[in-house]
């Protein structure tokens, strides 16, 4: 009403426009209310759940692996200690380039290594932590924690870490752990385990991985946007994996390792009554702790490229010609198939011409007249050449297989080799040529294409010690839920074994080739062997030319005591010379056993 007095110009047009704009805004406000209604009331459930998921984080509490002890359950061979590791969570990375640069500097690791590591797990979900460094020192942990704000992508976790208090000791039995690879997750082999978890790759750690692994716990906690914990909601404690008691007797194991020091070879000791392995030592060896703390690239390269193969478990994977040890099998075959009896004798003149070739005995002057027990005692080649010629390869092969050669013993660690028992069928298949008679003569003294593992020899000798009862070697005690090793009796008469055992007893106790293994009052029975890589003739020629002759592998396999055997020992020393060298080592194992279990 006053307006007319006051307003001197006509503003109605712009006032009208202003009003329209206001109505448009009011309309917009109504639409906005509508949209907020949709989000807050209609979609409330969805966003409520998202908000809950946002603030709750499930964290895995890794379960410690089961402890592995020796047979007495007191000495711990594989344990757990607390370890700190730092992981990178890619979804928290703001700037990938800067993060790689700064993280590598903070952690003191090579940037290309870091990138390679993240790249390796690029198929994992972005919220999965990728372990970039472990075994942090407390100083390193403090440093990372104090810079949490700068590095929201880094997360430090404490977790039980596998440790092997005795380092290299029994490494091939225990095996080692390695991080699960993306392939393991793809193939489902990883089971319920998580990224960055370690799993058994070889040995007991692999064979009994499921039992040792335990069950991870779960922690539900409230976290803020930087992932810092603001309190727990629920906690499910991890359950440690089951403890395993090995059959190893650590005193014997340690003794065996001492004896092999600086040699290349293996010692296996087992209880013939049960098949329980008392000692399984290889040299050279490696430190399984290194697989937990990660190798430097140089360390890893030198380990895998070492010509002596420290990672190789020679006892179950090393393939060697059995040499004269095989004469035990020959004797059993000859007696059981009736080609010879205890009185059958052959004359040893130092060499023998068969099929137009001259085959030598290791004892040049010749042994003279030899029967079976004497042949075993003195390891006379001529006796067994004659026996082999009479028997033929088929008989030899079938008895070798009967006594456990040519196939895995079934020990409870992975990777065991089959070995090879040759026969004409095999020859035809592999080299498309017919069996050559002379080869039978070579096989008769454990040479030729015949290949065995030291464990197979131990198992075969256990069968002899048991007078025909075969056992399956095992590394854990039956209480761990291992199937009771099946004993099988082979169809060879007990007296036949007594004859062979007599020869083995003489070998060790009556000045035979195995005399180094003799232990006073312990009735050791054994057989030596030495395997040549080149023929004797060629070796002599080389010697005459003043060239170095590559030494032979040295074997011994035996058991004690003669009646009621308790221990079988097999020793193989690569390039160890004559079998008598191995016999001396075996003697010390028998001695150690006798001292400990003084009867």
């Amino acid at each position: 009403m006053l307006r007319k007095d006051r307003i001197y110009e006509d503003l109605s047009l712009i006032l009208k426009r202003a009003r329209i704009v206001f109505y448009v805004l009011a309309g917009l406000l109504v639409l906005i209310f509508g949209y907020y209604w949709k989000v807050q009331i209609l979609d409330h459930q969805k966003y409520w759940q998202l908000a809950e998921a946002n603030r709750l984080r499930e964290r895995v509490l890794p379960a410690p692996r089961g402890v592995i002890t020796d047979r007495n359950g007191k000495l711990i061979l594989a344990d757990n200690t607390a370890g700190f590791k730092v992981s990178i969570i890619r979804e928290n990375i703001k700037d990938f380039e800067a993060s790689c640069r700064n993280t590598s500097r903070l952690l003191g690791i090579d940037e290309t290594d870091l990138r390679a590591r993240i790249e390796k797990f690029s198929s994992a979900a972005a919220f999965q932590p990728i372990v970039v460094k472990d075994n942090l020192t407390t100083e390193e942990v403090a440093q990372i924690q104090s810079r949490k704000l700068e590095f929201p992508e880094l997360e430090v976790e404490v977790e039980p870490k596998r440790s092997y208090p005795f380092g290299k000791s029994a490494a091939h039995v225990l095996g080692y752990l390695q991080e699960l690879s993306p392939e393991d997750f793809k193939s489902g082999a990883a089971g319920k385990r998580h990224w960055g978890d370690l799993a058994g790759r070889t040995g007991i750690e692999r064979q009994y991985d499921d039992m040792l692994t335990g069950e991870d716990g779960r922690l539900l906690e409230v976290v803020d946007s930087l992932g810092r914990s603001r309190g727990e909601i629920s906690r499910e404690e991890p359950r440690q994996g089951k403890a395993l008691r090995l059959s190893l007797d650590y005193d014997l194991q340690k003794k065996a390792e001492e004896l092999l020091q600086d040699k290349e070879g293996t010692i296996v000791a087992l209880d013939p009554r049960t098949g329980e392995v008392l000692a399984l030592a290889n040299f050279p060896t490696y430190d399984p702790n290194k697989f937990i703390t990660r190798f430097t690239p140089e360390e890893w390269l030198s380990l895998v490229s070492d010509p002596a193969y420290p990672l190789e478990n020679r006892a179950i994977r090393g393939l060697y010609p059995p040499g004269s040890i095989f004469k035990i099998v020959m004797a059993a075959a000859g007696l059981d198939a009736g080609f010879v009896d205890g009185r059958t004798a052959y004359f040893c003149g130092g060499s023998l011409e068969i099929y137009g070739n001259v085959f030598s005995c290791w004892f040049k002057p010749g042994h003279g007249m030899m029967n079976l027990t004497q042949g075993i005692k003195n390891s006379c080649n001529i006796y067994f050449y004659n026996l082999g010629r009479r028997m033929g390869i088929e008989h030899i092969a079938s008895y070798a297989r009967l006594m456990g050669l040519g196939k895995k013993t079934g020990i409870d660690i992975p990777g065991e080799k089959d070995g090879l028992v040759p026969d004409p069928e095999w020859k035809l298949k592999t080299s498309k040529t017919a069996w050559y008679r002379g080869e039978t003569i070579s096989v008769s003294i454990g040479q030729g294409p015949l290949l065995v593992t030291p464990l197979q020899i131990a198992d075969m000798v256990a069968c002899v010690a048991n007078r025909g009862v075969r056992v399956i070697p095992s590394l854990v005690l039956p209480e761990n839920g291992r199937e009771e090793s099946g004993k099988t009796t082979i169809p060879i008469k007990r007296e036949i074994f007594e004859t062979i055992i007599q020869g083995m007893w003489l070998s060790a106790n009556d000045g035979g080739t195995g005399r180094g293994a003799k232990v006073e009052g312990f009735d050791v029975c054994g057989k030596t062997g030495s395997t040549q890589w080149i023929s004797t003739e060629r070796a002599e020629k080389l010697q005459q030319q003043g060239k170095e002759v590559k030494k032979t592998h040295s074997w011994f396999a035996g058991f004690a005591p003669r009646s009621g055997p308790e221990i079988v020992v097999t020793v193989l020393v690569e390039f160890g010379g004559a079998g008598s060298a191995a016999a001396i080592l075996a003697g010390q194992i028998f001695e150690a056993y006798r001292m400990k279990y003084d009867r």
């Binding site: 006051r6 209604w37 009331i41 966003y47 946002n54 928290n92 976290v223």
Partner: protein
């Protein structure tokens, strides 16, 4: 210069709404920052007191006088903005701030007031029923200066606010259909060129994630997603004061500044959203009502632009935090933490009151 008659005409209702909005802001600034060092709620309270003092100081001077000096004011702000680009250190990745001993000032906020006054001065002399191209171009050029200087800081949100003032003034002056088409074509061209050359990658990403927020939940879409979760999880009545997990556990970004309305949505639900939006809109409405009380053309322009300034920020902010507008860094007027923004909004309201209270004064 101020006479008792005019003083009696001060719009106390509007000042009441202004203070009410600001206090709501303080409450939620407290909720979203009480666990942080820096006592933001207390600082904001001080800004409110300073803002009120400056508002009353502004009332003392007739808007006609302010308009007389508007060109110098405008040029002065331009010089400061240019100097800022040349000499300022980066704070939070932008060159928007002047560092003073106890606080920082954002000169681009003052540019809003300068633009309102200068544009009002030009259009007060323009009496045709529709916009002519000469005055249109003049207005565009005036806004373009500060727009460019602020956009390259880079502070796209504030720069866009200048555009809203331009649009307001053009609409009021009377846009012809031809001009609208022309403007659409120009803005399309600017958009295409800008997308390909001027916009930074993070700005582009913000635009694309507007349409696909869940595609990149930890990158540019993170803010939108967390904000929507906060608002949506609030439901009808909210989770209660200081009990919003999204805010208290810090999932919500820029909680006490640009995303303060998400905190309100989370802790007081749709009812809180409705109440606070209505309070803000009532204030905007109260400002618009004053348009009809201006005694002259200049007054109408000033009130309209000041109202649009606050309305634009309000709408952009409430659309942005729920994912209907790109994240451009436009604060919620009067509620978001920040002294410069608060004071510039107080001054804008002050201009409205200034015009309204002098409707009976003799020219």
């Amino acid at each position: 210069m101020i006479d008792r008659g005019s003083f009696r005409e001060i719009d106390w209702v509007l000042i009441g709404l202004l203070v009410l909005n600001s206090i709501i802001g303080v409450v939620f600034i407290f909720s979203s920052s009480h666990y942080l060092p820096g006592s933001y709620a207390l600082k904001q309270t001080i800004f409110i007191v300073v803002g009120l003092a400056l508002l009353f100081l502004l009332l003392a001077v007739d808007y006609k006088v302010l308009m007389t000096y508007s060109l110098y004011f405008y040029l002065g702000v331009m010089v400061v903005l240019a100097g800022l680009l040349l000499f300022a250190k980066l704070i939070a990745h932008t060159k928007s701030w002047i560092r003073l001993p106890f606080f920082q000032v954002q000169p681009s906020e003052l540019a809003k007031i300068a633009l309102i006054l200068l544009l009002a001065r030009i259009f007060s002399e323009y009496k045709k029923s529709t916009l002519s191209s000469s005055v249109g171009v003049q207005a565009i050029l005036i806004v373009l200066g500060p727009f460019v200087l602020v956009a390259v800081q880079p502070d796209l949100g504030t720069a866009l606010t200048f555009i809203s003032l331009l649009m307001a003034v053009l609409v009021l002056a009377g846009l012809r259909k031809k001009t609208i088409v022309l403007l659409l074509a120009v803005s399309l061209a600017v958009g295409i060129v800008g997308w390909n050359s001027a916009l930074k990658d993070y700005q582009k990403k913000r635009l694309t994630t507007l349409f696909y927020p869940s595609q990149d939940p930890k990158g540019a879409g993170y803010h939108i997603l967390q904000s929507k979760i906060a608002i949506g999880s609030g439901g009808l009545t909210g989770k209660g004061f200081l009990k919003g997990s999204q805010s208290q556990l810090r999932f919500l970004p820029a909680r006490h500044t640009d995303f303060i309305f998400s905190v309100i949505g989370e802790e007081f639900g749709f009812l809180g959203v409705f109440f606070v939006m209505m309070t803000s809109f009532l204030m905007i409405a109260r400002m618009f009502v004053s348009v009809g009380m201006a005694r002259d053309r200049a007054g109408v322009y000033i009130i309209f632009m000041a109202s649009m300034l606050i309305a634009f920020q309000f709408f952009v902010n409430v659309l942005m935090i729920i994912g209907l507008f790109p994240v451009t860094g436009v604060p919620l007027p009067l509620l978001s933490y920040g002294g410069s923004s608060l004071i510039s909004n107080f001054l804008a309201v002050g201009l409205v009151i200034n015009v309204r209270m002098r409707r009976f004064a003799n020219v």
